[in-house]
Symmetry: C2
Subunit: 323 residues, 2 copies
């Protein structure tokens, strides 16, 4: 079996250079999102928590009508980096991507679609499977000559997302641990955990902090896959984030649905930040018994938590107000 250092000799889809380049490229266009903290939450967690509020990032990213670009809040940096890496000819023809909007399930995030339309983006519906989405994107590409940017499996996207933690470390240099939501593929029955593309991975060399990922138990389990060599053989050449996760993520913490909802509630009621469930996974992980009781993380005193996304449908809430 390869050692960790041997594995790191391979070329990754993103590295510290490409992330720094992305930061220079996108900084005029993005929001430098604030880092919030709460003594109440510090007290509940028994650590100092630094919430990087990437959910305040600009939303859908639209280039040239009528071609679509869908992006949840978490993906703006990546999308921005991908777009501004194009030459003018490419950019003029537009960009196509696909996104996991689960329109046919209960509590689907209608507001995500509304946001796309608000930005004059074009939404083309497909069946809610990855295969169907990819087929539809191919068809649109053939018809229009637009450029396809995969929503997460693209070095430019990964590098753009990587600027989140680069920025976070500039804002809160005392951080010794970063925890990010993970999982591009989600099988959760209720499909609320729409993390989508990009893990916001900061590929530091040398690593100066612990880098943890958190995913819902309901998701197709990356934690299990990491431990399964066959899975690596099959997928790691196809999925660009996979070797990065494998080699740089120190551990993956899985959390129960109910704990994610509880973390989301703390985000709303204490931090006053409206995240979607996937955005609250990092907090859920930090508050989980698995994390608290693991001696490996006892010295994680200053934890950066990336809060991403905000595409949760709050219709039930507004309805209750107007009753």
């Amino acid at each position: 079996m390869e050692t960790k250092s041997q594995m790191r000799d391979e070329k990754y889809a993103a590295d510290i250079s490409s992330i720094r380049e992305a930061q220079v490229r996108i900084s005029p266009f993005i929001h430098k999102t604030p880092v919030l903290s709460s003594e109440t939450l510090n007290s509940i967690a028994g650590r100092k928590l630094h919430f990087k509020c990437e959910c305040f990032q600009k939303g859908p990213f639209f280039v040239s009508s009528p071609l679509l670009l869908i992006s949840g809040a978490f993906k703006f940096r990546g999308a921005c980096n991908a777009i501004f890496s194009l030459n003018d000819d490419q950019a003029a023809k537009g960009v196509v991507t696909h996104s996991s909007i689960h329109c046919n399930t209960k509590n689907a995030p209608k507001c995500k679609v509304e946001n796309v339309i608000r930005y004059n983006g074009q939404v083309i519906w497909s069946e809610p499977t990855m295969r169907s989405r990819e087929d539809m994107a191919t068809k649109v590409l053939q018809e229009t000559g637009a450029v396809f940017v995969h929503p997460y499996n693209d070095g430019r996207i990964i590098s753009g997302q990587g600027t989140i933690s680069l920025e976070l470390l500039e804002q809160a240099p005392q951080i010794d641990t970063i925890i990010v939501p993970i999982s591009g593929l989600v099988n959760n029955l209720r499909r609320r955990f729409d993390i989508g593309g990009g893990i916001g991975c900061q590929v530091h060399q040398p690593l100066q902090f612990e880098f943890l990922a958190a995913e819902p138990k309901g998701a197709m389990n990356q934690a299990a896959h990491l431990k399964e060599p066959k899975y690596h053989m099959k997928y790691h050449k196809r999925v660009n984030t996979r070797p990065i996760v494998r080699d740089f993520v120190d551990d993956i913490i899985t959390v129960e649905d109910k704990d994610i909802i509880e973390a989301m509630r703390l985000c709303y009621e204490i931090l006053k930040v409206a995240v979607e469930p996937s955005g609250a996974i990092g907090l859920a992980a930090v508050l989980s018994d698995d994390f608290r009781n693991n001696l490996a993380w006892k010295d994680c005193n200053n934890i950066g938590i990336i809060l991403s996304g905000g595409n949760v449908d709050l219709g039930v809430l507004w309805d209750s107000f107007l009753k």
Copy 2:
């Protein structure tokens, strides 16, 4: 009738000096809250909006057990200024205030009470009337020798709250207009508009920007009272914010309940900020026809909106997730 300049000769409970002093006093203890913007909301409003997210301010303020309790995100700066203006003997005996927690109405903000208890503050219930709250506070004061700080009718509170706009103008000096939620007394049937104390008034001399206030139509109407001399005669010596509002607020915009809920929805879904209805009133005002169609405000191009409070009970939302 007095002219505006004559009226301004009187002494106010807070002025630019007391606000600057408050800023120095409280700055080590408060969060410098971020200013967020959204191109989507700018586009909806037709102006540039700068959201001062005071809802991220520290929450309940707790000094010495078992007394005191001040709560509500909006009031931290004021409370902080009041407490740190006390001498050590006074502070040792604790502080009492009262707050409008409407526990007996539908959708009462339970989380507000929970937050108070979380900080080891003591909640003493009274009947939900101002008179009953004041009587209860008096009783506690007599029993304990604690210091009473009125939740909004106190120069130290007003000065502390005034630091919000002072800070906002430092962060976004291009602002030409500031709009704040107003109304200490709320009669709204559903009692959701718990603005509570302090108007965050920035008493500038000379005024270099338009200073507007917004209140729900359901509230005891300050806009109407301002135009009613009898009301001034009766109240302006009792209510310290009254002469400040009368002399410095350029106009009061009243907004419908349904428009406040819509503004709140935009805050959650686009800004991703979890405000309570009262906190979204400023945005509702800016989007109202009354504001849009008033030629007096046509040159208000850079509007600072203070988003305050977050004590909205989202129980219905969590219930929907866990169904």
